[in-house]
């Protein structure tokens, strides 16, 4: 090492490991980057939980009394919808975060490093998955406080949480693709959200689809969010339906198969402009 210490005597060489190793190692380095920030920006997590809590209160106490469901209480019916809506809305942070990194030039720096190309995306989607897990736990507790009584057994409930997390992960990759495709953070914010409204509200999240007009009901009953909600609801209320569960999982896997390569491709060609 010479006197200036700006430089070392020799260029520091990267460690030689198989590229598959770096795919995971680099993703973990970046997941850590996001996770250590969570306690530093508490307001972000607070707002991420306040919004679904508002939905719980709104539907449990304001609209709930006017909505007829069969076979269970409205709050028991509602919570599956709330859980799915929470993880799907929560997944939009992936795209907003990537758009922010792009705008700040961080993506340029990452892309100039000899790191695994996919790691910026997998690191972030992994961290968002962990963050969403925490929010789901908070929402579960909030549900219990307003009278939610899950039926069946713990295995079913764990399976329900598993589907929720798979959903969270899948929608994060759609969000990542959007965040890399748009031109600004603001655009990532609105473009990431807007298409989720019809999917979550024209679904079985808050009302039984039977109450909808025929044309809407056809859409609502065949779109993925309803399938996912029905799968989760069945598991929470002790009437799991294998076919619905498999369809829900198939949708999530399908989304991952399409959007992981799409997001990685978009990442490879985007630089800050």
């Amino acid at each position: 090492m010479n006197s200036s210490a700006f430089r070392t005597a020799e260029i520091l060489k990267p460690q030689a490991r198989p590229s598959l190793y770096w795919t995971f190692a680099d993703a973990l380095v970046l997941a850590k980057r996001h996770l250590i920030q969570i306690p530093r920006i508490p307001e972000e997590l607070v707002f991420a939980t306040i919004q679904p809590i508002m939905f719980v209160l709104l539907f449990r106490y304001v609209f709930g009394g006017a909505i007829a469901v069969s076979g269970t209480t409205y709050v028991n019916f509602l919570m599956a919808g709330i859980f799915v809506q929470t993880v799907i809305f929560g997944s939009t942070t992936t795209g907003i975060g990537l758009a922010t990194d792009l705008q700040r030039g961080l993506v340029d720096r990452f892309r100039s490093l000899p790191m695994a190309k996919s790691a910026v995306l997998t690191g972030r989607t992994l961290a968002d998955l962990i963050r969403n897990t925490f929010v789901v736990i908070v929402m579960w507790i909030v549900g219990l406080l307003v009278g939610f009584q899950p039926q069946g057994n713990v295995l079913f409930w764990l399976a329900a949480v598993g589907i929720l997390l798979l959903t969270s992960f899948a929608f994060s990759w759609i969000s990542a693709t959007i965040g890399l495709a748009v031109r600004s953070v603001e655009a990532a914010q609105s473009a990431g959200f807007i298409w989720l409204f019809p999917l979550t509200f024209a679904s079985s999240a808050f009302v039984p689809t039977q109450s909808m007009p025929a044309w809407l009901r056809t859409f609502a009953e065949h779109q993925p969010v309803t399938l996912i909600i029905n799968a989760v609801r069945g598991l929470l209320l002790n009437h799991p339906d294998a076919s619905t569960i498999w369809q829900a999982i198939a949708w999530c896997v399908g989304i991952l198969v399409v959007f992981i390569p799409l997001a990685v491709w978009a990442y490879g060609r985007r630089t800050a402009r």
Partner: protein
Amino acid sequence: MSNTPAILAEGLQKHYGKTQALVGLDLVAEQGSVLGLLGPNGAGKTTAVRILTTLLRPDAGRAEVLGLDVVKHADALRARIGLAGQYAAVDENLTGYENLEMFGRLYHLSGGVARRRANELLARFDLVDAARRTVKTYSGGMRRRLDLAASLIISPPVLFLDEPTTGLDLRGRLGMWEVISTLVADGTTVLLTTQYLEEADQLADQIAVVDHGRVIANGTADELKAQVGGERLELTVTRGGDLDAAVQALRPYSSGELQVDADRRHLVVPVTRGAQQLAEVVRDLDAEQIPLDDLALRRPTLDDVFLALTGRAAEEAELPAKTAATQPLVRSTR
């Protein structure tokens, strides 16, 4: 190896939609030298840096850094270069230390080496006290230092600095210049883009003046200045009536056409040995009893160079260049 230029670009072209960002850019930088890309906003400097640092693929032409093709050997190249951009590209919710350690890991250094190097660089950049604070609390100059530190983690032999001092105050700028000079003294090759003529003059061995996506002039600062002529004496006489007498007295010293501005009582005299002649000029004018308000020996600046090359001043060029970026520029088939 030592004969391979550190940076070589030939005929680089790049367009964004209908906008031609580069229309055949050529560059060469010898190892251990500083190449300054000088030009207004929108001239194509950043696009050139992005191609050379593997972030963008050129539409045509080729480029090599350390003999490695920026497209074909992009992966190998990324382990040998450093890039610091116009923004301080660091994570502002991490501490200074966490940023450097993270980037070290992403350069695939072992945990131990990454941590040691992070501490070394924080010390060298005078950021030890701030090392455990989140970057959000840093001043602009501190962020820029951290950003530069991040680009030096692996001690890259070639460093790309895209407008390293834009937005810094005078102290920050001088500090950045000092760091760059030290790096060059240690043998680092630096490619530096700047809008500041003074900065290129100060730091660069070779300057490439870039305008509308191509290099319009090339050379050392002195060579470029020579293109717009040598030194000149500029003087203002106290009494307008003395102007003719002053012209007579100064004609023997002039190496070219004298310029007279009667309204401002101002004379411009091109000279060849300005410093030596200055004393004689003062003596002669004193003997003629011609009092002066002002006398200066002026050497051409890069501002003059830019004006001579483009027909407009570098600062003025900023506005038209920005407008031009949204319109099709010169279409070139070169």
